[in-house]
Amino acid sequence: MTDFLNALVALTNFVIVPGMAYGAQLALGALGVTLIYGILRFSNFAHGDTMAFGAMATIFITWTFQAWGISFGPLPTAILALPFAIMITALVLLGTDRVVYRFYRRQKSDPVILVIVSMGVMFIMNGIVRFMIGVGDIRFSDGERFIISARDFKAATGLKEGLAIKTTQGITIVTAIIVVAILFWFLNKTRTGKSMRAFSDNEDLALLSGINPERVVMVTWIIVGALATVAGTLYGLDKSFKPFVYLQLLLPIFAAAIVGGLGNPLGAIVGGFIIAFAEVTITYPLKKVLGYLLPESLEPDGLVQLLSTDYKFAVSFVILLIVLLVKPTGIFKGQSV
């Protein structure tokens, strides 16, 4: 029995908790991608760097707050900085739309042109972020480090395995739930939210109904700015902030959005967790868990790690390929790519 509990705790500690936190971060990122795809009808390659920009804004404001001696008790100061960073990121996105995307929208450019335009925006944003904050690793998490530390858990339960839940992991999940709840309430209950869904569903009919496309686009960028900032900040808090990492995050985020069904918000969330758990499970050495569960004679010799963590992005790639081959519209019947 204790063996089983130890296995369960080890699995929770190394797979379930990190998977939940990572899944929540991917889900928030994928929500931004899917909203842009649904409403502006292109795949926004600049989204990863938008997240980096949002996180950078949060870091600068956090540093300012820390310099002023403001803190958020046991929680990271970054949470206090978040609303301000969201405002800055939303303004930058609205500016980008005004200067870049609106021109192509007026030209009625093909989605593939907008994709390439977004890659240009991606490079510029990436450059700006690196120029402003540097390329190094930045840790900006302060406050209490653990909700439950491994040592406390062991002392409390008497088990051999410890369970640690970092504050940032707890915050990630709670924040993600709040943000998603607000987003779904907005999309399903408010007039503006419904008009966004209508516009995404059938643009011509939306225009006939008197829905103002520029307003829909504006609201979308603001929401995407908020989602990207929250996702980028949570990821940076949980791991660390490094501009290049966000560029790499683009792949799992797109995989999540496509697996769930592009343009479908619920799909983005489910896709985020699927990708996260696939990545974490496949790259985690299961030896310890199996060691508790199996009789000694069957105990594996190797690490039972299906894939080294260096190859974790391959997991997203493979899932993406399978989905595109078998069910291109994704799990929740989004638009096909």
Binding site: R191, K194, S195, R197, A198, S200, D201, N202, D204, L205, A206, L207, L208, S209, G210, I211
Partner: protein
């Protein structure tokens, strides 16, 4: 004869920079009337209706609503002026519920539209039953009811239907025609393009037979049904 309520007067025009599709085509409708545009495939029936609604360039001629020249207005502005349009395809928000479809129909209205929604539900009781269901899950006939209901939400002064019975079964078609007559009885003029010429002319107060973008025959529905040439050419004897 006094000026009709809505008239596309001697319209000539085509899509974009393309060739003219309509040639001196005239279409009009008055309150309480159902006007039907019929004709062979490719005659420009839908094009004529789209011209009236401002979806293509009218190069000569004009469109007037209640005496006002609206030739240069965009379709959106025409909706605000009181024109309701139901496109032939993609005429509902499939992922939204029936009720949300109706709400979106009333998007330009700033006042309370509860009464209008109740009227639409009275007209189409099945929609009330299915109001929380996604419109895309409904049957073909029910979708058309949603489409018409959506257009009625602005309380339009004139309703334009582009082939409302396309792709529905004959039984559903009869039912839809009944509903359309009911809408007309409320006093809203209806301009309609129809593939099913005979049934459409039977309910029509006024019929326009178009051939190659020109008015070929015009008259009351009964006159056209009785007209030997119209019968022979378009109604199959």
């Amino acid at each position: 004869m006094s000026e009709p309520f809505l008239i596309g007067d001697t319209m000539t025009g085509g899509y974009g920079k393309g060739p003219d599709i309509l040639h001196d085509c005239t279409i009009a409708v008055n309150p309480g009337e159902i006007a039907v545009i019929v004709g062979p495939n490719g005659a420009g029936k839908s094009t004529a209706m789209k011209a009236v609604f401002g979806m293509l360039e009218v190069r000569t001629g004009s469109v007037r609503l209640d005496g006002e020249d609206i030739t240069s207005l965009s379709p959106q502005d025409r909706v605000i002026k009181g024109m309701g349009f139901v496109p032939q395809v993609r005429n509902i928000f499939t992922s939204l519920t029936v009720e949300e479809n109706l709400e979106m129909g009333a998007f330009i209205r700033k006042d309370d539209f509860k009464d209008t929604m109740a009227q639409v539900y009275d007209l189409f009781p099945i929609l009330k039953e299915k109001r929380l269901q996604a419109a895309g899950e409904l049957s073909g006939g029910q979708r058309q009811q949603v489409a018409v209901g959506r257009a009625l939400m602005t309380q339009p002064k004139v309703l334009m239907l582009d082939e409302p019975t396309a792709g529905v079964s004959p039984i559903v078609m009869d039912e839809l025609f009944d509903r359309i007559i009911e809408v007309a009885r409320t006093g809203i003029p209806i301009l309609m393009v129809e593939q099913n010429a005979r049934q459409a002319l039977e309910i029509a107060d006024k019929g326009y037979v178009l051939v190659q973008g020109r008015n070929a025959h015009t008259g009351t529905g009964k006159e056209l049904l009785a007209d030997e040439e119209v019968r022979r050419s378009f109604l199959g004897g």
